[in-house]
């Protein structure tokens, strides 16, 4: 049996984490949650995720900063970074890709679309 892909969820909004957790667990993924960028960085090496769903506006460390740090600290690691944020301006998008993310999804999202994007991204690395 193939091992379940691991996904790290980073968001400071508990309700959104609740929804994502339910959705992704149902789809058979292994899940870990983090409430902000700092926690995400701490958990990164232990959990060793295949993919990160990253919010931008968070206390302690925002998502852009988090992505940059991840790419700097773990340049070898093949991990997909997907921004999942309510910030929808053009500039935000650009900054998101500049900080090293593969995808930029604007909230609110459609569950099925999100799942498809995740699946496609995982297919490229696994």
């Amino acid at each position: 049996m193939k091992k379940a892909a691991r996904i790290l969820l980073v968001d400071d909004e508990a309700p959104i984490l609740t929804a994502l957790e339910f959705l992704l667990t149902r789809e058979g993924y292994q899940i870990e949650k983090a409430g902000n960028g700092k926690v995400a960085l701490d958990k990164f090496s232990d959990f060793d995720p295949d993919l990160i769903l990253l919010d931008v506006m968070m206390p302690e460390m925002n998502g852009f900063e988090t992505a940059l740090q991840l790419r700097q600290r773990f340049p070898e690691k093949d991990c997909r970074i997907i921004f999942l944020t309510a910030k929808g301006m053009k500039e935000d998008r650009q900054q998101g890709f500049l900080s090293g993310a593969e995808e930029y999804i604007i909230k609110p999202f459609d569950n099925d679309e999100l799942l498809t994007i995740i699946k496609e991204n995982l297919a490229e690395i696994l």
């Binding site: 400071d12 909004e13 508990a14 309700p15 959104i16 609740t18 929804a19 994502l20 339910f22 959705l23 149902r26 409430g35 506006m57 206390p59 309510a86 910030k87 929808g88 301006m89 604007i106 909230k107 609110p108 999202f109 459609d110 569950n111």
Partner: protein, 901 residues
């Protein structure tokens, strides 16, 4: 000639009854008028008065004094509640297509076929003796008129072919079979039959009243004291020694239950009911009907005791007194009234029993043999009618047999009361089942069984012992010599009469075990949804039971078609298809039946064969999904929850729509404003999208995934909270926007008390156990009232949010200084961290809260406060320490500053 008279009368009567019933079936317009007439329903309910009340009450009054009145008092006392109770029963039954009391109870307790079978069987045991006393009354009255001397009447040891009782049993069985099983009606409505019953009720009361008046008139004319028939001496002449309140109240209590729960009463009151409006007039017609009969009983009893020799049975006074005074015609009228009373009871009882026995006993039994499916389903309609006819005749003959063996030895009243005490065993599970959701099937079965056993032991068994079928040792010494176990002295209650003792013991133990076992073994998932329909039917009335069902069932179309055509007429089936598919016939007949069409078929089928049998039939038909019975029920249960939950979602979506509309409006205005630039819009949209994200994702999850009940609750709660958050944000955006267009501050003087009261009123609902105090040093202030009120509300709401619901304290204090007003709002809540403190008046700044689960605010509230107070040339400051609460202080000048002049 005289000997043949009653036979001629009764034959003509039967013929007339057939004509009435037939005519009202054939003449559609007439039938509709009669059916709709509220009097028809109320009169058919007077079916309650059988030969027992017609003849037996007088006998009862002579021997038992006032106890006879209990039989009339019971229904009279519950009549005012019919509009609530009966209508609830009718609504539930129509919704679930319930056709008998056995069906009702089986549906209530998780569509349990065991429950249905037990109730049906028990009802048969209770009703057969009851029918037998009707046969006795009819047979006796017939012979009484036919033979010269009372001594020559012999009820026993007759050949059945010369026995009038046998003739009546067969005749009324035929009537019941003809008008009760003409065709299969899924709703079990029988207009002809009901009209005939209403007609009989009229004959009954007319005969009783006319005969009574004639008797009283003849008596007073002969003895010369007309008034005495109504005087107090008359009442005291009645045997008062027998009057004991326990028996009297017991009978009233039992009668009230019997009025609703006897199979024939349930059938007429619930199954044959057309509209709910019919119920209201019966709340006064029934008591009136019973009152008229009951006030005439005493005078007749008195006259009978005065003029008739002692060997004449008081049960016959109504018949023998007119003969005594030489009014043969009146005697014949009374005779007819008696036949009407007894016959009506027989006809409906036979029909009601046949429906419940066929649907709850015979059909499930047949269907349990898989080989019988095809035969049975191939001509469902015909099979079912055949079964019912057989049952009708079987029950009629059993009643005749019972009459020959047992009833001839007893008075009408004693047998009738035993039946009443029997049917009362259904009362706990019936009435508690209507109001107590936690009543479980296991509890109900145990309680009912115990009640039935005790009743059997204390009443019918005792009767059998007394009739000599068993040794009477058990009565005198009790089983194993334990006297307090003797049926006559069970649990030491021998001091009461048998009916009272049995009622007390059996119903107490019945109710106790029922409640106890319902608590010990609460209803299963599968029962709860059914229970919910019964305890709160209003929630479900607009839905078909399986409308929103998540269950996907399909079946072979032709098989379904066969079943449908068996229970409905061809044109009804075509009509149904046309409604369902949009047109009919279709160019291509579908191969499979869609899920929701299966639901419709199920609904019709339930009406025809009852809930329990339908389940079995569908299990067979819906082949491609071999559903276990329990799975099926489980899935149906979920349906009910989905209905509830989708209602909630719907209302939330509406709230959201409304918010969105407001927001659009607000956005439009925002765009016009110069001061609110991109940053603001970006922030607002970010703050809006965040809660909308959870709302969208979670509601989508709820629509696509099967989720557990806990998850469901949690998700709906989050959706609700986040929707509220969106609403708040929208309001505050509007407020923020409003501020910018306010040109001038509206200064005026206001009473402080008034302002504080308004604040208090606005937040009272949210206070819970928090303490909110107001203090002020001066009585009135100069202020822009709307602005200050807005600021205060905002500060107090924040304080509420961050204090504990228990022990939270909020103080609002107004102080006076020489130049300024100083108002502070202090709380003992969680406080604000040092890092956060400098930013809290910034737009969209949000303090991280301890409980992340709670929705956040919009981040605009304090920013608005700051802008308002600045408009008033004032300041707002904050002091706080984490864990020790916060104090916000407002200061603004007392006098107009120069620029406002």
């Amino acid at each position: 000639m005289k000997a043949a008279l009653p036979y001629i009368v009764v034959t003509n009567w039967m013929a007339l009854l057939f004509v009435v019933a037939h005519y009202s079936v054939v003449k559609k317009r007439l039938r509709k008028r009669i059916q709709k007439h509220h009097l028809t329903y109320a009169l058919s309910l007077a079916l309650y008065c059988t030969a027992w009340t017609f003849y037996g009450s007088i006998g009862n009054a002579v021997s038992g004094g006032w106890t006879f009145i209990g039989v009339y008092l019971g229904p009279t006392l519950i009549a005012p509640f019919l509009s609530i109770l009966l209508i609830k029963m009718i609504r539930i039954s129509k919704h679930l297509r319930i056709t008998s009391i056995a069906d009702f109870l089986s549906s209530r307790y998780g569509k349990s076929s065991n429950m249905g079978a037990v109730v049906a069987l028990f009802c048969m045991l209770v009703v057969i003796p009851y029918i037998s006393i009707q046969l006795k009354a009819m047979s006796f009255s017939t012979q009484f008129l036919a033979v010269e001397g009372i001594n020559e009447i012999k009820l026993t040891h007759q050949h059945f072919y010369t026995d009038p009782a046998f003739f009546f049993a067969v005749a009324f069985a035929i009537f019941s079979a003809v008008f009760g099983t003409i065709r299969l009606d899924p709703n079990e409505k029988h207009p002809g039959l009901v009209n005939a019953i209403a007609f009989e009720s009229i004959v009954k009361i007319v005969a009783f009243v006319v005969a009574s008046l004639v008797i009283i008139y003849a008596f007073s004319k002969e003895d010369g004291h007309w008034l005495e028939a109504m005087s107090p001496e008359l009442i005291s002449s009645i045997n008062n020694e027998a009057l004991g309140w326990p028996k009297w109240t017991t009978i009233a209590f039992l009668s009230a239950i019997a009025f609703l729960l006897l199979p024939r009463q349930f059938h007429i009151a619930v199954v044959e009911n057309r509209t709910e409006e019919q119920v209201y007039p019966s709340t006064w017609i029934i008591p009136l009907y019973l009152f008229i009969i009951s006030i005439l009983v005493i005078p007749i009893a008195y006259v009978g005791m005065s003029v008739m020799p002692e060997y004449i049975d008081a049960d016959t006074y109504l018949l023998s007194l007119p003969l005594h005074y030489g009014f043969l015609f009146i005697a014949l009228l009374v005779y007819l009234g008696g036949i009407a009373a007894a016959g009506g009871m027989m006809i409906v009882s036979l029909l009601a029993l046949s429906i419940m026995i066929s649907n709850n006993l015979v059909v499930p039994l047949i269907l349990n043999y898989r080989t019988q499916y095809d035969y049975f389903l191939s001509n469902l309609n015909q099979r079912l009618l055949e079964i019912r006819r057989v049952i009708i005749f079987l029950v009629a003959l059993l009643s005749y047999g019972f009459y020959q063996l047992i009833t001839v030895h007893y008075s009408l009243v004693s047998v009738g009361l035993i039946s009443f005490a029997g049917i009362a065993q259904l009362a706990p599970i019936f009435f508690l089942g209507l109001f107590w959701k936690k009543a479980s099937r296991k509890g109900a079965l145990i309680g009912l069984t115990a009640g039935i056993l005790i009743w059997t032991y204390m009443l019918p068994f005792t009767q059998l012992v007394q009739a000599g079928y068993f040794s009477s040792r058990i009565l005198n010494h009790g089983p194993w010599g334990i006297y307090w176990l003797s049926p006559e002295n069970f649990l030491g209650l021998g001091v009461y009469d048998p009916i009272t003792a049995c009622t007390i013991v059996s119903l107490s133990i019945n109710t106790l075990l029922f409640v106890l076992f319902s608590l010990i073994s609460p209803p299963k998932e599968s029962e709860i949804s059914q229970a919910d329909i019964f305890t709160s039917p209003e929630k479900y009335l607009q839905f078909r039971p399986s409308q929103l069902s998540p269950v996907r069932r399909s079946s072979d179309f032709s098989a379904m078609d066969v079943v449908l055509k068996n229970i409905l007429r061809p044109e009804q089936v075509n009509q149904l298809y046309a409604t369902y598919f949009g047109k009919w016939p279709l160019t291509e007949t579908p191969k499979t039946t869609p899920s929701d069409l299966v639901d419709i078929v199920e609904n019709h089928l339930t009406g025809a064969v009852g809930a329990a049998s339908t389940k079995i039939i569908l299990r067979y038909l819906v082949k491609d999904e071999p559903i276990q019975m329990d799975d099926l029920i489980n899935m149906l249960d979920q349906t009910q929850k989905v209905i509830q939950y989708s209602n909630e979602l719907q209302s939330k979506t509406q709230a959201l729509d409304a918010s969105t509309r407001e927001l659009r409006l607000a956005n439009q205005r925002l765009l016009d404003l110069d001061i609110l630039k991109n940053e603001f819009i970006s922030n607002v949209t970010h703050e809006l999208r965040t809660p909308l994200t959870s709302i969208q994702s979670l509601s989508q999850i709820l629509m696509t995934y099967p989720v557990s009940e806990e998850e469901q609750e949690r998700f709906v709660k989050i959706i609700h909270d986040e929707a509220v958050r969106v609403g708040q944000l929208v309001n505050q955006v509007l407020d923020y926007r409003k501020m910018d267009v306010i040109e001038e501050v509206q200064w005026s003087r206001w009473e402080v008390v008034e302002l504080f009261n308004e604040i208090r009123d606005s937040v009272t609902a949210l206070l819970e156990n928090r303490i909110l105090e107001f203090k002020h040093e001066i009585e009135d202030i100069r202020v822009d009232k709307n602005m200050l009120k807005h600021i205060l509300l905002n500060l107090v709401s924040n304080a509420l949010k961050f204090t504990d619901a228990r022990g939270g304290q909020i103080r609002v204090v107004l102080e006076d200084s020489s130049t300024h007003y100083k108002m502070s709002v202090a709380d003992n809540g969680i406080g604000i961290s040092e890092e956060a403190l400098p930013h809290i008046f910034d737009r969209f700044y949000q303090v991280q809260k301890a409980q992340l689960d709670k929705p956040k605010g919009s981040g605009l509230g304090l920013a608005i406060c700051k802008r308002y107070i600045e408009k008033m040339d004032g300041t707002i400051t904050v002091k706080s320490r984490q864990g020790e609460g916060s104090t916000f202080t407002l200061e603004w000048p007392k006098e107009n500053s120069e620029k406002n002049d």
